[in-house]
């Protein structure tokens, strides 16, 4: 099964309470995916020349201060550090293209959950309700967010098998479904230099999007490429710094519903996750058509 949710704020009130709304949506999808949960929330963009890294270590008492100091020695300044559950958000005085590879090379003891200038990915195994509490999701503001509750079918229940998956700087993917050609596609992408942290099928779809965009495709083209190159069932939601996009496979047996009003755009596996939003009962709602990319971006919003 699995449950996915997405929320895009069109009003300052929704931005202020984005975390609270997404937490409520995620809670509704708990029984679709009781083994892991995660969110990608887009918030508090860093200044030009800075990058935001979200890192994870299984130990809640991990010594993030010395890692921050190491980043400070390498890139200058004094990186800001904020702990959230067993994750840490670091803002470093250099581009993500430099800071992320540095962490991967010199601090293999931590996992890079996300990198960029605005994205923050948090994910962990366990009940979604516990995740919402541990990461104090409700206190976060932001412009848009995607969330996922996982019922594992294709790989183990682990932190790195949880969603969202990072697909590049400020990009992420959540997935409801299962892919059947992820083995050969993983090997093809590995030959093209894409690295994988798990045997998870969705991570292959994330790697595919990363690879297509690295080769010059824009997000929409990369997503449309999924229709050709991925075999299996999927409702995907892809987040970027500007907004999010939704795509269902041509058979479309994995559910999806969308709704929009003057204050927000929302997508979810089921309407009950949207029903918790203010004004949901009078919002325009519809089921996205198969094999069609639906995208919302901030520039288009007045």
């Amino acid at each position: 099964m699995c449950g996915i949710v997405g929320l895009f704020a069109k009003s300052p009130e929704i931005e202020r309470d984005l975390g609270r709304h997404v937490a409520a949506m995620l809670g509704q999808m708990s029984d679709r995916g009781p083994d892991s949960a995660g969110v990608a929330i887009y918030r508090e963009p860093v200044a030009a020349g800075f990058s935001k890294l979200v890192l994870q270590h299984p130990d809640l008492a991990h010594d993030w201060e010395s890692l921050a100091a190491d980043l400070g020695r390498m890139f200058g300044g004094e990186p800001s550090l904020e702990r959230r559950g067993n994750h840490a958000v670091l803002v470093v005085a250099a581009e993500a293209a430099e800071t992320e590879p540095f962490v991967r090379a010199h601090h293999p003891e931590v996992r890079v959950m996300s990198a960029g200038s605005v994205i923050e990915i948090y994910k962990e195994t366990g009940r979604p309700e516990a995740f919402i509490e541990q990461f104090a999701l409700a206190e976060l503001s932001g412009t848009h967010a995607l969330g996922h509750t996982r019922m594992a079918t294709e790989s183990k229940v682990t932190t790195e098998g949880s969603h969202p998956f990072s697909t590049g700087l400020d990009l992420c993917l959540v997935h409801n479904g299962s892919l059947s050609n992820h083995g050969p596609l993983r090997r093809l992408l590995q030959r093209r230099g894409i690295e994988f942290q798990s045997l998870n099928d969705t991570e292959v779809a994330a790697g595919y999007l990363t690879w297509r965009m690295r080769e010059g495709a824009d997000l929409r083209t990369a997503m449309e490429g999924c229709l050709e190159d991925l075999d299996g069932f999927y409702t995907f939601a892809v987040g970027s710094a500007e907004g999010f996009a939704v795509l269902r496979d041509p058979i479309a047996c994995k559910p999806a519903v969308m709704a929009e009003n003057d204050d927000w755009v929302a997508m979810a596996s089921e309407y009950r996750a949207i029903a918790v939003l203010p004004g949901a009962s009078t919002a325009r709602s519809w089921e996205p058509s198969p094999a069609t990319v639906y995208a919302w971006e901030r520039e288009r919003v007045a």
């Binding site: 479309a252 009950r272 949207i274 029903a275």
Partner: protein, 234 residues
């Protein structure tokens, strides 16, 4: 009839199982309340599922999976949209959706009438076994897949692979058909089919559509299962 005459149940405060149990307890009970109003469904699954009594149930809002599934005799009306599997395996009665219905609306239903005033998504009437389904808008791909008997009336367009591997059901479509499934063909509209469509339009209460605007689709009966030589294989 006023709202006040209806037994009202608020799903924001009443557990779903309690509601459904109260409705189920009316099977064989001639004295209990017949008219019901359900408020705040908010996408809940299996609302008014398994009814087996002459009830009239109105639901104010959107429902989730399997609303009015296995319905017998009762009239269920949803003033909103319905999630996947609405009226799945209905036996008799009437289920009416004011908005859209999601996947496999009326799947495997044996009888009764399902009316959708909006659109349905994929697999509408999949494996239908005698139900009448009337849709004012469009239906999605793979609708009436392996449909056995019954009638599917669509005032709008139909998606890809309509009527794939179907048996004896009758399909009437007013708009465009994106593509016919295996062994599904267009057939001549004879007087009895025009009467069929007129009856369905009347039952559904649709305005602004006329029988002669519809085209008929059905089985060409060319697949393996239709060959007498294969009968011994079963």
């Amino acid at each position: 009839m006023s709202v006040a005459e209806r037994e009202t149940v608020d799903l924001a405060t009443t557990p779903l199982r309690e509601l459904n149990q109260r409705l189920h307890d009316l099977a064989g009970d001639a004295h209990g309340p017949r008219r019901w109003r359900i408020t705040n469904p908010n996408g809940t699954h299996a609302v008014a599922c398994g009814l087996d009594a002459e009830l009239e149930v109105e639901i104010d809002g959107h429902v989730g999976y399997y609303c009015a599934g296995m319905n017998k005799t009762a009239i269920v009306r949803v003033h909103g949209n319905a999630g996947p599997g609405v009226a799945e395996n209905m036996m008799s009665g009437r289920v009416e959706i004011d908005g859209d219905a999601s996947q496999y609306a009326g799947a495997t239903a044996h009888g009764g009438l399902l009316v959708v005033h909006g659109n349905t998504s994929s697999r509408c009437g999949i494996s239908m076994k005698g139900v009448d389904i009337c849709v004012r808008g469009d239906i999605g791909h793979l609708s009436a897949f392996m449909a056995q008997t019954g009638r599917l009336l669509v005032c709008g367009d139909a998606g890809e692979a309509l009527g794939d591997s179907m048996y004896e059901a009758r399909i009437y479509v007013r708009g465009e058909v994106a593509g016919l499934g295996a062994d599904c063909i267009e057939k001549e509209m004879r007087p009895k089919h025009l009467a069929d469509v007129a009856e369905l339009i009347e039952q559904a209460g649709f305005d602004g559509v006329r029988p002669e605007e519809f085209r008929r689709y059905g089985s060409a009966r060319q697949l393996y299962t239709f060959k007498i030589d294969n009968a011994g294989a079963y």
